[in-house]
């Protein structure tokens, strides 16, 4: 059976596309799937750094699309997680070296070899975005709970619909404490504007920065709330559709658990 191509996109930069790509990719691989994560951000590659595989890059996606190497040569195997492969972007080219035709051809080959192909789309809605979504089966739009990210996500959702892809929404960097104080948009506010199916909610987590800087997979950090959230998202993507979406809450502790049981707090 052919694999699925999942594109992770957002429109706005810096909302956590690359982190989400590496985490969901790692989580899907840990659940026993053969996963390829592909960095489509030609010229500004990051995914390899976050996954800690930068020093092993020989070939990249541009070489694959332009027939300079085979997929197996460009795919870097992750040493910590089985079945996880990275196809990095080229750092020296720009986004115009890829054509949608070439990407389509490579996507077809990738589908034969992997269960999930996760594409990390660059920010923006230009050529790089077009190349990333051209052969996508599914899309996840990442959005943070701020007004500009919601605006951009809305635009991207419109563009994806026009390419007949129905996207799902991942709301990243939720700060439950600030939501409770009313300083931040809640996920309901975001959903009210975007009105698409929710893929998952990810809280703000200080582990993300340290894990990214050290090149460690977030989903292997047992204490990381974001890592757990990404694992649940991956499980839902992998067929456990009835796994409920966990809403990040800011209160922990015995008394809150008890009051929650009695229905005093939500």
């Amino acid at each position: 059976m052919d694999g699925k191509i999942l594109v992770i996109t957002s429109g706005k930069g810096g909302v956590g596309k690359t982190t989400a790509t590496s985490s969901i990719g790692a989580a899907l691989a840990m659940q026993g799937n053969r996963v390829a994560v592909i960095d489509m951000d030609i010229g500004l590659r990051n995914l390899d750094v976050i996954m800690g595989l930068e020093n092993r890059i020989v070939f990249n996606i541009v070489d694959v699309v332009n027939n300079r190497c085979k997929i197996s040569q460009a795919a870097i195997k992750d040493r910590r997680i089985d079945n996880l492969f990275l196809i990095p972007a080229s750092q020296s080219d720009n986004k115009d070296v890829l054509t949608t035709k070439g990407v389509k051809r490579v996507a077809k080959m990738l589908k034969k070899e992997f269960d999930y192909i996760i594409m990390d789309s660059p920010a923006g809605i230009e050529r790089g975005f077009e190349n990333s979504v051209v052969s996508a089966d599914e899309a996840i739009v990442i959005c943070t709970p701020d007004v500009s990210a919601v605006r951009d996500a809305d635009r991207v959702i419109g563009l994806l619909y026009s390419k007949s892809i129905t996207p799902k929404l991942l709301i990243n960097r939720i700060e439950p404490a600030r939501v409770a104080k009313g300083e931040m948009l809640s996920h309901e506010d975001v959903l009210d504007v975007l009105s698409i199916e929710l893929a998952g909610l990810v809280p703000l987590d200080e582990y993300v920065l340290t894990a990214s800087n050290m090149g460690l997979p977030l989903v292997l950090q047992k204490e990381s709330k974001a890592g757990l959230a990404f694992t649940r998202i991956a499980r839902r993507l992998n067929g456990e559709t009835d796994l409920p979406i966990e809403v990040p809450t800011h209160k922990t502790g015995m008394w809150n658990t008890i009051s929650k049981k009695f229905g005093f707090t939500k």
């Binding site: 605006r151 951009d152 809305d154 635009r155 419109g158 009105s195």
Partner: protein
Amino acid sequence: MNNRNDKTNTETSNSVKLKGSGNGFKLTLDPSMPEDSIKGELSVLFENLKHLAQNAKVVIDTDGVKGYDHVIENIKSYLTKKFKVGQISTYIPEQTIEQKTDSSKPWMFHRSDVLMLKGRIRSGQKIESKKHIIIAGDVNPGAEISAGGDVIILGKLKGKVHAGLPDNENAIIFALEFNPTQIQISGITAVGGDETPGNKAEFACVDKNKIIVQDYLKANPFAKIPWPEAM
């Protein structure tokens, strides 16, 4: 019939009149007149036309006089033989269509001037029409709507709306939740406020060269129209 004498210059008497119409001729005649005198007048008229009569389209209008079908048939064959006229038909008055039009229900015969859309209008999408626009759904921030007439949004309005373009000051903008970023009616612009709207339907209209926003149910602008009009 005398009153029509001064209207055309090709007529010879009261009974037969010839008029160019469209790509042919319209022949108005009174079939109750003696056939020979009609033919005589016709020959004068068509002689004047010379080659123009050949293969021409002729429509015969009896001006409401009925019951002389044989006379008409004779005239038809006479014209075809003598002047090689192309096609001859009898004029059918448009009364049948007019009779159906009931002026008390104008909407029954009104071609729609409304563009109605269902669904959410997202950031970056632009809806343009010279007609009225009705959106059954929300208009997100960053979306744009511009209409020649009214804009009616059955949902939340958070985007940008231009109504009454270019110069229809009577246009209104209506939304069930009125919170636009910017609105424009016939070139007059207003920016959306920060106030959170209550749960009431509001609309914007032009009053003394300014845009004002009112509670729809309190102002009820359309209720002032005494009789239903088609939009």
